[in-house]
Symmetry: C2
Subunit: 256 residues, 2 copies
């Protein structure tokens, strides 16, 4: 970590509404070009999950979902549409808690979150599922920057997640490519008094996502992408293992 | 939320080592003045918990702690010094989990975290406890800015906290004054397609702290304060209820 460097987080104005097949990398680059700027290697491009999902055609109409018995029971218990309950089950590997207030699920990708990440806002005629594999999506977006413009920014796909014990959501990285996900400083150096640093693993990707989601905002005023600069020390040549590698196995969750 | 605004996070170089009685507000202002800058109303001043604790004399020598029987049992179970276990008990209202890997406690102030926030790094001859009341500390720092220089920045006291399910730490607000802690957009507006936004409560103070802690860094290279700009829409005239108001009661924790 180089301290003393300023970090800037710039939300991108003028991003279009996304439809299946549209290029996330292309629209990010176009939005920056419109402001006389350009994506560079060393930048971190943060994009909202919803535009990645839309570009990948992850919109589902509830009328097209056939709920089974387990979904009907979950729906009755939680006061949801059976079709929504079926989608949550389809997207999850484990339901951790189910009440009318929230269904907390472990998503197929490993993340623990409300409603398996299914977002019913800002979606005209259906609900939006997460990308099938957000880390693969991040790698694909990064590859497009490299192929079309010869630049290798880091790419982070962000969503707003709830937390245990704390009210409200913060941005978190659900997909990542080309970024040091965890900056592990355990035993990597000495502090001001010569002790070895203890148990310091910085969740870089989540911190970047938190900052970007604040700048991007929510809802009608929101912009679905941002550029984070001043963090080039964490941008890597390799794509790296992705955001899923920053999740604890449930059995190892010290907070459980 | 006004979208489209750039957020900048600037760590402050040249901060001194802190000792009891030193002024956090004074040293932040001095560090900015040294760079030809100044703290302004609308800024968010983020300071690391450790300098607030040091300025408040929250350093404890383990040799001065007399561990009781409960602490000795906790120490034996977790492989810690009995004196450290006693301090963790003294600082907590509930121990949620105790293993050699981590003692997860609900701090007196309500936050859930490892080792009750007691930091044994960067402390020459002892361990550092959290401020007695971090929200009160934030209000006092803010009041000093107002009294001495007539400016009213928001003040956030940040620490790096572990999370359930996710590896590594991110910055979180453990004390706050003059900041919209939670931006509650439930039913506050309509999204792009006219639906009411659902269940969107943005944890502003934690997002700010996450961004600032990334910029501040850890350990020998770390700087213990940062200025966040571009977020004036969340800076309030009143001090507000503080970071403790952003915590769920354990009984209401949907993720538990």
């Amino acid at each position: 970590m180089q301290a003393g460097k300023q970090i800037s987080v710039t939300p991108l104005r003028g991003m279009p509404l996304f439809a299946p097949g549209m290029s996330v990398a292309g629209e990010v680059m176009a939005a920056l070009l419109a402001e006389g700027d350009v994506v560079r290697s060393g930048d971190i491009v943060v994009v909202a999950q919803k535009i990645v999902s839309k570009s990948e055609g992850r919109l589902v109409r509830l009328a097209d979902v056939a709920p089974g018995d387990v979904a009907r029971a979950l729906a009755a218990k939680t006061g949801r549409e059976p079709e929504m309950a079926q989608l949550i089950l389809d997207e999850s590997i484990e339901i951790l808690r189910a009440t009318p207030a929230a269904i907390i699920a472990r998503h197929r990708c490993g993340h623990v979150l409300a409603n398996a990440g299914i977002d019913a806002s800002n979606v005209e005629h259906g609900v939006l599922l997460w990308p099938l594999d957000p880390d693969a999506s991040a790698r694909a977006i990064r590859a497009e920057f490299a192929a079309k413009w010869g630049v290798s920014p880091a790419v982070v796909i962000a969503d707003s997640l709830g937390r245990a014990w704390r009210i409200g959501t913060v941005g978190a990285a659900i997909g990542a490519a080309g970024l040091t996900l965890l900056d592990d400083q355990r035993g990597m150096g000495q502090d001001l008094f010569g002790r070895t640093l203890q148990a310091t693993v910085i969740a870089v990707a989540d911190g970047i996502a938190a900052a970007a989601v604040l700048a991007m905002g929510e809802g009608a005023e929101g912009t679905p992408a941002a550029i984070v600069r001043g963090c080039a020390q964490w941008v890597t040549d390799d794509d790296g293992p992705g955001a899923a590698s920053g999740l604890r196995a449930l059995a190892e969750d010290m907070f459980r």
